[in-house]
């Protein structure tokens, strides 16, 4: 009964709250492998000339989204925590509600979850522990997860599992990413797994499942694999 009353009130109130002109700004994530679109459980991709890889899981957290104008924050999303999961297409597209009169040039966000949220107990939504991105035996979020198989790994079934996370100094893995965002209503952000895998040594770093120096270093490399999408010009 209470709930019905609450939603009744909300149905009047919500339009008033949002009546001030907002425009939707879409942020789309586009996982790539070099110039190819990255598809899970499908293609074998090659890198470093001789290595091949098959990707089974790509999941990561984007949080604290802000829009910047002349390097100053002009808008920020409240309660901004998004799990991007390549196996769930709809999670690749974020819809931001930005006031119409705001001008921006850059988008800033974190790759990962801040230490405050890492130590605040059970959360819901994209942060719910059932999302498989929370370590159980030692508390903390996994910021970035990449799993698959590669001939470079001398492991059982050539498997690799990179679970990057950790919020404690000196191995705090959260990364800040700032990218230009010239278009006013949408952006396409590429994460290029080829860039990432070419910069690490999969033959040695194939199982990272806990916080520490490895997770810390690899997180910095992942952050460098993000870039604004540039449509191929030559046909």
């Amino acid at each position: 009964m209470k709930k019905i009353f609450f939603s009744f009130v909300m149905s009047f109130v919500a339009p008033m709250l949002f009546s001030q002109s907002y425009k939707p700004v879409q942020v789309n994530f586009k996982p790539m492998f070099g110039s190819q679109e990255l598809v899970l459980n499908d293609s074998v991709y090659t890198f470093n000339l001789k290595d091949s890889v098959y990707i089974e899981t790509l999941k990561f957290y984007i949080s604290g989204i802000e829009l910047l104008c002349k390097n100053k924050m002009v808008w920020k999303e409240n309660n901004s925590y998004h799990l991007i999961n390549l196996s769930e297409e709809n999670t690749l597209h974020l819809m931001l509600q930005v006031p119409k009169n705001i001008h921006f040039e850059h988008i800033k966000f974190y790759l990962g979850i801040d230490s405050g949220m890492n130590t605040s107990g059970a959360q819901g939504g994209d942060l719910d522990p059932t999302k498989g991105m929370f370590w159980t035996w030692q508390s903390g979020y996994i910021n970035f997860k990449l799993e698959g198989k590669s001939n470079a790994c001398a492991t059982r079934k050539h498997e690799f599992m990179l679970h990057l996370g950790g919020y404690l100094y000196p191995y705090n893995t959260i990364q800040t990413i700032v990218l230009p965002m010239p278009a006013k209503t949408s952006a396409i952000i590429v994460i290029d797994i080829k860039t990432f895998l070419s910069a690490i040594d999969l033959s040695k770093q194939h199982h990272i499942m806990s916080p520490g120096n490895n997770a810390f270093l690899l997180s910095q490399i992942v952050a460098k694999s993000f870039s604004p999408w540039i449509a191929p010009s030559k046909k």
């Binding site: 107990g121 522990p129 508390s139």
Partner: protein, 338 residues
């Protein structure tokens, strides 16, 4: 800018409405007299009768384990202050053995880290560890939530508490926290002496003085722990090779450090220490008087040996027994749900 004014008044109105709802459902958490403020942030998980009861039902239900053989209470029994009686190392699913002794569960609202090495940073996420541990419950939270959502009893219980159509991981964890938060032990003889409602015997009084002199820097009143990680001089077990806090922090300075346990209800929470190596309080005292292993992470207080005569040991143990809280151990509200 009257639209701003409009917005502010609407938000205000909503807040008033919301607090009215919360007010109806909330149950206050009682802080015992002269105790410090709890560490747990109750504003993020306000207690309610329904949720506490739901947490209790979950705590006692083997549905949380893979083959429905083990519940939290299999390792945490009320009559032993929620520790695992007579097992140095806890037994889990398929009779597998854990590597550590189950600690007593009480006054958890005052802890800021959980587990002997502080691997868990918040009470809400504690349950994930035993649920997922292959040697404990061997399950995972995704399938626990799936099983609960298919169970009619739980769908009703969760709907009554959270007013949502389906059960989430967050709700499961917060409900179990609610029950654990109510496990407050503050009615021992020691407490009634502090409240000037009864008196120590001479022996207990002498034991209390010895305790304050030798033990209370770590086992600090009124919770009987300051919850720091320290090395109290136990020799490394060569089979378990458990270096405690160092595994979490990666820092050699934390080698052999463990979370200081509370000593409330210590009479009933044998065996003692992180690996349950001692069966009796006498053995514990012998450790402190003549078993201390010196190494570079040993706590300063224990560098010079503690000296206790045979009589003093008896007195100290008499004091430790005043920390037994029968009201806690036999409180029907903590027992198996009806």
């Amino acid at each position: 800018m009257d639209s701003t004014f409009q917005k502010i008044s609407i938000i205000f109105f909503l807040l008033v409405l919301l607090t009215a709802f919360v007010w109806v459902e909330e149950t206050a958490f009682k802080i015992p007299d002269n105790w410090p403020k709890p560490k747990y942030d109750f504003t993020k998980n306000p207690l309610s009768e329904n949720k506490i009861e739901l947490g209790r039902i979950l705590f006692y239900d083997p549905i949380l384990s893979k083959d429905s053989s083990i519940s939290c209470s299999s390792c945490h029994l009320q009559y032993t202050a929620f520790t695992h009686m007579d097992h140095a190392l806890s037994h889990g699913i398929g009779d597998s053995m854990g590597t550590r002794n189950a600690p007593a569960l009480m006054n958890l609202a005052w802890h800021s880290n959980f587990m002997w090495d502080g691997a868990i940073n918040h009470l809400d996420v504690q349950s994930l560890a035993p649920i997922s541990h292959p040697d404990e419950m061997g399950e995972n939270i995704v399938s626990v939530v799936y099983k609960l959502n298919r169970n009619k009893k739980y769908r009703h219980l969760f709907a009554a508490s959270y007013h949502l159509s389906s059960i989430t991981g967050e709700q499961v964890l917060k409900s179990i926290s609610q029950f654990m938060l109510t496990l407050v032990s503050s009615h021992s003889k020691y407490d009634s002496v502090m409240r000037k409602q009864s008196l120590f015997t001479n022996q207990e009084k002498n034991g209390y003085a010895l305790f304050q002199k030798n033990c209370s820097s770590c086992h600090t009143e009124p919770l009987f722990s300051n919850f720091q990680f320290v090395n109290n001089g136990l020799a490394l077990d060569p089979d378990l090779r458990d270096y405690g806090r160092m595994k979490i922090s990666g820092d050699a300075k934390d080698s052999l450090k463990f979370k200081i346990p509370s000593l409330r209800n210590i009479e009933f929470s044998s065996p003692y220490m992180h690996d349950g190596r001692f069966k009796t309080l006498n053995q514990v005292l012998n450790h402190y008087t003549k078993g201390i292993q010196k190494n570079n992470t040993l706590a300063k207080e224990l560098e010079t040996p503690i000296i206790l005569s045979a009589n003093e040991k008896v007195d100290l143990i008499a004091f430790l027994i005043t920390l037994t809280d029968r009201q806690f151990l036999f409180n029907p509200a903590y027992g198996f749900p009806k």
